[in-house]
């Protein structure tokens, strides 16, 4: 493992725009994804900033109601379909999944590149729609509003999501085949890092769920463009059917968003406690269990939609089953700390943040899954708070944990620890200030997607807006210091954290085909006795 500057690695093996745009290297494709989703995160963040500014006062004074509706729609579309769903799997998963199982690349490198292009193409449609005037259907596209009444760029946006969906499907397909067929010698299923398990489970959802979203969009498309009447109430169609099909995908999709994050947390918690994850097998299986059970609960979004009361009962009941594997994970992470050797680098701080905020977000999910409470809080800010807790407090924290954790491996440079810790703190405080008040707002009855609201809700909204500006600073800081570290960061060794995964056994940054020699795996995951005594020299 030589560390001379001349060593050839995936970044300096070839130069020029073409060498990136036509690359088949999963690591470079991971970075291409990183740029794309960062762009969409800031677009979505800019919309969020405007939403929060508008909600500072009860009157709708900053933008018109029509513009406001477009803002939250495009905020959600940018964030969900073009940032969060590709975020961890397509960036960190792409980069590390093959390395972690000791493969030279994914099974289908060309398809991998294609799926990035599909995301870009889909993103281009969505961006075009945003620039040309936006859409105002809400990210849920409920019919008949979206088919008959909305006058924005519904079709362009829907097409963008459709194309991005194929990107997601192809990534999932690639991962599944890779995990089944490309593992290095000795890498048995129960030696795989939990991050790989989590991405595997995610891929299952991607291939089984996304096609249903695709066909739903197609049916929306033909109804809007060709006036076929599949959901049209005027012809005896049922708009609630649309909601079923939409949520058949979109509920499992929330686990596409959170499972990879959980995988990151497993890696981080283990590394910074120097202990195998407690109950490894349970944590591994719980990922698959969440993926499977996640398909059985979608009707909990339809409790007041005129879905039959009996179906409501079934879906409420099933919803509680997903909570159990999630609980298993949270408890096992906590138990991992017991008798560990815990250090507090930035990734670990984010991991703590994740566990705490995901717990709150998840537990409030249980409120929503209860029929009796949901009839009051559905479509209020309580729901908004719930999902930002799991997605922003959960997944984004995990994404940042992963970015900091693997940054030295990706770039060969350390990020500045002090700044990073500060920004983690700012994100945590800003986040809670933004979204905690929304739980109260929701229970008080403030409906979501409201451009103007009664004055008694103002105080809490002001708090929320204040929090959002703190949060924005917290998110901008990593942008700055990550960029800074590319040039000025301390050069990182192969294994700066004393971690166990195969990715730490190869150089930083890794060579083009990941390993100079195909590794042969002889130990379980997280066997710290294999690294102990090597360079454990953490700042």
């Amino acid at each position: 493992m030589q560390l001379t500057a001349e060593r050839e690695h995936y970044l300096n093996a070839s130069y020029g725009l073409k060498s990136w745009l036509l690359t088949k290297d999963h690591k470079r494709i991971g970075l291409l994804y990183l740029f794309t989703i960062t762009l969409f995160f800031f677009i979505g963040g800019a919309f969020a900033t405007l939403i929060r500014l508008e909600l500072l006062t009860p009157q709708g004074d900053l933008v018109s109601d029509d513009v406001y509706n477009r803002l939250f729609t495009m905020h959600a579309i940018a964030m969900i379909f073009f940032f969060m769903i590709p975020s961890i799997p397509a960036v960190l998963g792409n980069f590390f999944l093959p390395i972690m199982i000791g493969a030279r690349d994914l099974a289908f490198p060309r398809i991998n590149l294609l799926s990035w292009y599909l995301l870009v193409a889909g993103g281009a449609f969505a961006l075009f729609a945003m620039i040309a005037g936006g859409v105002d259907t809400g990210w849920t596209f409920y019919t008949p509003y979206s088919t008959t009444y909305a006058n924005g760029w519904v079709i362009a946006t829907a097409l963008g999501i459709f194309i991005a969906g194929f990107s997601s499907i192809l990534t999932g397909l690639n991962f599944i085949v890779t995990v089944h067929r490309m593992r290095a010698p000795g890498m048995t299923w129960f030696r795989m890092p939990l991050f790989v398990w989590a991405n595997y489970a995610t891929s299952l959802i991607q291939i089984l769920g996304t096609p249903v979203l695709a066909v739903t969009i197609v049916l929306l498309f033909v109804e809007r463009v060709f006036h076929l009447g599949i959901f049209d109430p005027a012809r005896g169609g049922d708009p609630v059917l649309f909601q079923h099909l939409f949520w058949f995908y979109s509920h499992p999709a929330v686990y596409i968003m959170v499972l990879p994050g959980m995988g990151v947390i497993s890696e981080v918690i283990s590394t910074f406690s120097r202990k195998p994850v407690f109950g490894y097998a349970f944590v591994a299986f719980s990922s698959v269990a969440i993926a499977v059970l996640g398909f059985l609960v979608w009707g909990h979004h339809l409790f007041v939609s005129t879905q039959s009361a009996f179906a409501g009962l079934v879906f409420s009941f099933l919803s509680y089953f997903v909570a159990i594997p999630s609980a298993i994970k949270v408890f096992n992470w906590t138990a991992t700390l017991y008798k560990g050797s815990i250090s507090f680098e930035t990734p670990m701080l984010y991991a703590f943040g994740f566990i705490g905020l995901f717990t709150i977000g998840g537990l409030t999910g249980l409120f929503l899954a209860a029929l009796g409470i949901d009839i009051h809080v559905t479509d209020t800010y309580f729901v908004v708070a719930h999902f930002h807790y799991v997605m922003v407090g959960g997944t984004i924290m995990a994404f940042l944990a992963g970015m900091h954790f693997w940054w030295p491996k990706i770039t060969g440079r350390m990020y500045p620890e002090g700044w990073a810790k500060l920004s983690a703190l700012i994100v945590f405080v800003g986040f809670n200030l933004t979204f905690f008040p929304q739980f109260i707002l929701g229970y008080m009855g403030m409906p979501r997607r409201y451009h103007a609201y009664p004055p008694e809700f103002q105080v809490l909204n002001v708090l929320s807006t204040a929090g959002a500006s703190v949060l924005a600073i917290g998110y901008l800081m990593p942008m700055v210091y990550f960029t800074w570290s590319l040039k000025y960061g301390k050069v990182a060794g192969a294994n700066p954290w004393g971690a166990t995964g195969l990715e730490w056994k190869t150089a930083s940054p890794p060579p083009v085909h990941n390993f100079d020699e195909t590794p042969i795996v002889t130990h379980d995951a997280y066997d710290y006795s294999t690294v102990h005594g090597e360079e454990i020299q953490v700042g």
């Binding site: 509706n69 008959t148 009444y149 509680y320 050797s341 249980l366």
Partner: protein, 335 residues
């Protein structure tokens, strides 16, 4: 704005039930959140890394703990489910003697009609202490009828009827929101519920009954639309007589039966061929496009008013009580 309010008023019989359920959830959540937070905090401090080269023993995983922390949360969630479902079922089934009110949502207003004929827009007056049952539909997109103080809401879907009911406990003025996104002025589709003492309510009702009661208007329509040409009281001719129909079980050609509820009457008017009464020819024309949703509701109310009519709220075969699960599996009124 000075007085910060952090909890909504309890304005209905349902509100305390939902709130109790909430307290239970809050307690469970607080317990687990604190448990996790404290555990992380103390473990992280207690086992912080003291030497750079320290390597802790890899512990063993026991099944006991795993089972423990799967089973206990599962037990708790089952309580959550059962309790939540029981509250929901109370909210789903209106009592037999509830006062019927009709609601039509449209972009972006609520149109409400009382049986006695008073019509309101974005305002609803109701008596305290009496259950009220809203039968709702939409003229365009999906809306949702939401009264935070009553802790209940229900989507209002075009082409179908949905039901929500509540019983106000305190006189007062409560927010009415549209909670399902319905387009540009969604946030403007709001109004007020006025819960009044029954006496005041009676006065208010009689105050503006100039437009004629819902059933009276329906009766007039029945004449104007020439329904009465066919549907004669004495059951002569080719058409079934309508008195007594509402709430009864109708036999259809083909052998199925259907309960004559709102949805069935509506279908009979807009889509008469869908279900043909046994012994009759399918000659009734459709009135689709000729009548508005409000008018359909008036016609329904008229048909209801000439249905079996014992003293309100008492007899088991009163129209409203007949709407309870009479014939499960009867040919469903799907839309």
């Amino acid at each position: 704005m000075g007085n910060i309010q952090l909890f909504p008023v309890q304005g209905s019989t349902l509100a305390p039930e939902v709130d109790h359920l909430l307290y239970f959830f809050l307690a469970v959540s607080a317990f687990f959140t604190l448990l996790i937070f404290c555990a992380i905090f103390f473990l992280a401090i207690r086992y912080r890394r003291r030497a750079a080269n320290e390597l802790p023993e890899a512990g063993h995983t026991g099944y006991t703990l795993e089972i423990l922390w799967s089973v206990i949360p599962f037990g708790i969630t089952m309580v959550m489910f059962t309790w939540g479902a029981s509250v929901f079922f109370k909210a789903a089934r209106p009592p037999a003697d509830a006062i019927p009110i009709y609601v039509v949502g449209k972009q972006w207003m609520w149109k409400l009609e009382h049986m006695e004929g008073r019509r309101e827009i974005n305002e609803l007056h109701i008596p305290v202490g009496k259950p009220v049952r809203l039968t709702m539909t939409s003229e365009d997109v999906i809306h949702s009828f939401f009264v935070p103080a009553f802790r209940t809401k229900q989507d209002v879907v075009p082409g179908r009827y949905s039901t929500v009911w509540f019983q106000a406990t305190k006189p007062g003025k409560y927010h009415l929101f549209c909670a399902e996104y319905c387009g540009t002025r969604h946030s403007g589709m709001i109004g007020w519920i006025y819960a009044m003492e029954p006496q005041d309510y009676e006065n208010w009702l009689s105050g503006g009954a100039a437009q004629g009661s819902l059933a009276e208007n329906g009766k007039k329509l029945f004449q104007d639309l020439a329904c009465s040409n066919c549907h004669k009281e004495d059951n002569t001719g080719r058409c079934p007589a309508l008195p007594g129909v509402f709430g009864s079980t109708v036999h259809l050609t083909g052998g199925a039966t259907v309960k004559a509820d709102e949805a069935y009457i509506r279908e009979s008017i807009l889509n008469p061929q869908a279900k043909i009464v046994a012994g009759y020819e399918p000659v009734m024309p459709t009135f689709q496009g000729l009548v508005t949703e409000d008018q359909v509701l008036q016609l329904i109310e008229y048909v209801r008013s000439i249905g079996a009519k014992p003293a309100p709220g008492s007899a088991p075969n009163s129209p409203a009580s007949a709407e309870k699960p009479a014939t499960p599996g009867a040919a469903p009124a799907k839309r």
